[in-house]
């Protein structure tokens, strides 16, 4: 290669996708989409599994930057990011410590509420609580102090897996069991009726900016796993159909949550706007989906920018230690 030629500056990106998680399928699809867009934008991209060959692949690929497009445990819980930090390889997205905190929905709720962001009242219950105390009495207490419907969800999981909207106390125990299948800690949260917004936040090195909020309108009233992965099941609106001032306020809230949680180059903050126009933080996504029906790519395209250029600038920011 001739020094100084265009090729000499081609950014080398290693995408990590797949992994052993319940969201492996989505991760693989997301990884391929990010790879396609980066390649179109001129980067040299290799997709790898985060497996026992990780270090050999890093030595072979010599990436300038790694992009973990990994969902679920190890991808979002910070462990892999710790390893990449130890290996002194720049990577896109939250640091290990931040990812670890944000990935746990219960901890993320505490952190953002301390920063003055509203999040629905909830109770966090490890599985052991029910084992040590009498489960029936615990559920009775919960039922007495919470207004139904409630949302039961695993504290650490994604893509709405293990999530149940519970209309009354009789269905609470089944929902807890379904959540504990994914994670040993479950959250019971007040159900807020309203308009769901997904707000992607990116930082290309010049500060966090919110991309246009994407409004989510499920065709059949539910935004569960199946609806997320099947084209046609959800209507997405960008810009959202809410009042401009409410959308602007929500986007500001998303930036604040992103920064409080220290999510660096990218995140997706999910909120709900209730009928009174109040925006509630629901959760932060450390490694948002990047498939053809995912929310962050929609938000980027709504700005008129190309996915490839935005991904490339995020990768560059990571390489240069910005963001």
């Amino acid at each position: 290669m001739i020094p100084g030629s265009e090729k000499a500056h081609q950014l080398r990106v290693q995408i990590l996708a797949g992994g052993i998680s319940h969201e492996r399928d989505i991760s693989l699809k997301s990884g391929r989409r990010v790879a396609d867009a980066l390649t179109d934008a001129g980067a040299f991209v290799v997709i790898r599994e985060p497996d026992e060959h990780l270090f050999a692949h890093i030595a072979e690929d010599k990436p300038d930057v790694i992009w973990p497009v990994l969902h679920g445990a190890s991808g979002e819980d910070g462990s892999l990011r710790d390893i990449l930090t130890l290996a002194a390889i720049p990577f896109v997205g939250a640091t290990a410590a931040s990812a670890r905190l944000a990935w746990d929905k219960a901890i993320a709720k505490v952190l953002v509420s301390r920063a003055g962001i509203q999040t629905p009242p909830s109770v966090t219950l490890p599985k052991e609580t029910f084992r040590e105390l009498d489960a029936e009495q615990v559920l009775d207490q919960v039922s007495k102090h919470m207004t139904f419907p409630v949302v039961v969800k695993p504290a650490r999981s994604g893509s709405a897996q293990g999530v149940t909207i519970v209309e009354d106390a009789t269905h609470l125990s089944r929902a807890m069991i379904d959540a504990y299948v994914y994670c040993d800690v479950a959250i019971i949260e007040k159900f807020i009726s309203g308009t769901e917004l997904a707000i992607s936040v990116i930082n290309e090195g010049a500060g966090s900016i919110a991309l246009p909020a994407v409004e989510i309108e499920p065709r059949h009233g539910r935004f569960g796993y199946d609806e997320r992965v099947v084209a046609g099941e959800i209507n997405y609106y960008v810009p959202a159909r809410l009042d401009h001032s409410i959308v602007a306020k929500s986007e500001k809230l998303a930036i604040k949550a992103h920064e409080e949680l220290g999510l660096r180059h990218l995140s997706r903050i999910d909120v709900i706007v209730d009928e009174a126009g109040v925006t509630w933080f629901l959760e932060a996504n450390v490694a948002p989906g990047m498939t053809e029906t995912s929310l962050m790519p929609q938000a980027i395209q709504a700005t008129g920018a190309s996915l490839g250029q935005v991904y490339l600038s995020l990768a560059e920011a990571a390489r240069l230690g910005r963001g």
């Binding site: 797949g18 052993i20 998680s21 319940h22 969201e23 492996r24 399928d25 989505i26 693989l28 599994e49 497996d51 599985k127 029910f130 084992r131 489960a135 029936e136 897996q161 293990g162 125990s173 089944r174 807890m176 069991i177 379904d178 504990y180 299948v181 994914y182 409004e215 309108e217 065709r219 796993y225 199946d226 992965v229 099947v230 084209a231 046609g232 099941e233 959800i234 209507n235 997405y236 609106y237 960008v238 159909r241 053809e292 029906t293 929609q298």
Partner: protein
């Protein structure tokens, strides 16, 4: 300025254009969870993948070389809708092992027997028609019946196979309701997923009932030659030619990647199958048909089936031993051939809901719900012993036991079992 309501983007601009039957195609969380099966750390007891590593590659290479040198230009060309004549003649030899004597004229080659089922669905099923099936029944067939908007009625099935008394009763009841019954669908040998074999006495009774009631039997027999001890009873098609449509496959006795199956049908139905095949595909792959034909002509294919039997018998034994060691309290079928064990879980455990936990513990299985069209099978799961090594089968069932025990503990905590 337009006052139109914003339409939003649903990522499918053709949503209003699909045929109604497209709604029968669905994805599920279970399907997504199976993505982890490709990771080597995960022991998959889920898919029914034949152990093709036991097929000496030199056998296929020799078949390929001789096919290309002797019939290469034909192998690369379009063929007929009924399939290669020489292969159809050889299929007669394969079917003779199951007691069937048939004319080459009545055999239609298909792209796997799955396509044969699909062609039959297209020829016979109108929306609302009834297909009678075992409890549980093969998931791939249920998908086809659902696609043609048929209603599947599961019949009582025990360790001797489908219960003829329930068949008679159900036919009577369904007809009293004005329902139109088109097929009785059966996997009579080492069934998928149950592993159960239909007894000889019941086969005769079922044929007699269906002949009398004018109901076509779809005898789907991919596993019949993979017996571990005694051969199963001869195929129903061997003594009933008019009301039995027989489906065979090379997927389990050779290799599924070749995608070659066949249908043996009464002449009038055969004619329509050929037309349907031509309409769907022009012709099944000439290339793989001729490859199989060379393999059957020049190798010890029966010896190879015997090798497969030995491997699968060892794996069945490993699975049953592991079940006895780690999950002795669970009821399981004890198949004399084929690929599968059908396990009944402790009261209250939902196999579909438990699957994410299993994936976390690096083991995968198929939830019983996949094998019912009516939501049944929650308390069952299918274990496939065909692909993992005996050591991995043991490890997988050990992990599965851990998962079941954890789930049992959770249910006990909540008092829901």
């Amino acid at each position: 300025m337009s006052n139109e309501t914003p339409r939003g983007n649903n990522f499918d601009h053709w949503l209003d254009s699909y045929a109604a039957r497209a709604n029968t195609l669905s994805v599920s969380e279970v399907r997504a969870l199976f993505a982890v099966v490709s990771r080597p750390e995960v022991v998959s007891l889920a898919g029914g993948m034949p152990y093709v590593s036991a097929l000496p590659k030199e056998l296929m290479e020799a078949s390929f070389d001789s096919m290309m040198s002797e019939r290469g230009n034909f192998a690369l060309q379009y063929g007929g809708g009924q399939g290669d004549l020489r292969l159809r003649d050889q299929i007669r030899e394969v079917m003779a092992l199951e007691g069937i004597h048939a004319s080459v004229e009545d055999i239609v080659i298909t792209t796997g027997s799955q396509q044969g089922l699909d062609l039959l669905g297209g020829l016979f099923l109108d929306a609302g028609d009834v297909v009678l099936a075992e409890s549980p029944s093969y998931v791939g067939a249920l998908g086809i019946f659902r696609h043609y908007e048929a209603h599947v009625e599961h019949l009582v099935t025990d360790d001797q196979g489908l219960d003829p008394d329930d068949l008679e009763r159900s036919i009577k009841e369904l007809r009293a309701e004005g329902r139109r019954i088109k097929f009785l669908y059966l996997v009579p040998n080492f069934g998928n997923p149950s592993g159960v074999t239909l007894s000889e006495e019941r086969r005769h009774r079922i044929v007699e009932i269906c002949r009398r009631e004018h109901i076509l039997i779809l005898e789907d027999n991919p596993y019949g030659l993979l017996y571990f001890g005694e051969k199963p009873p001869v195929a129903m098609r061997s003594y009933e030619e008019d009301c039995v449509i027989y489906l065979g496959s090379f997927s389990k006795i050779l290799a599924p990647g070749l995608r070659v199956g066949y249908v043996l049908a009464p002449p009038a139905i055969r004619d329509k199958l050929v037309l349907a095949n031509e309409s769907a595909l022009l012709s099944p792959s000439t290339f793989t048909q001729m490859l199989i034909s060379e393999y059957l002509a020049k190798s010890d294919w029966q010896g190879q089936i015997d090798t497969f039997r030995g491997i699968y018998r060892e794996r069945r034994d490993a699975a049953l031993e592991a079940m006895a060691e780690y999950l002795p309290h669970l009821e399981t079928t004890r198949p004399d051939g084929g690929f599968y064990l059908w396990v009944t879980l402790p009261e209250g455990i939902d196999s579909k809901a438990m699957l994410p936990l299993a994936v976390t513990e690096l083991v995968a299985y198929t939830p019983g719900t996949a094998f019912y069209a009516n939501g049944g099978g929650r308390s069952n799961l299918r274990i496939s012993f065909c692909y993992p090594t005996p050591d991995n089968i043991n490890l997988g069932i050990k992990r599965l036991a851990n998962v079941i025990n954890r789930q049992t503990e959770l249910l006990e905590t909540f008092g829901t079992n």
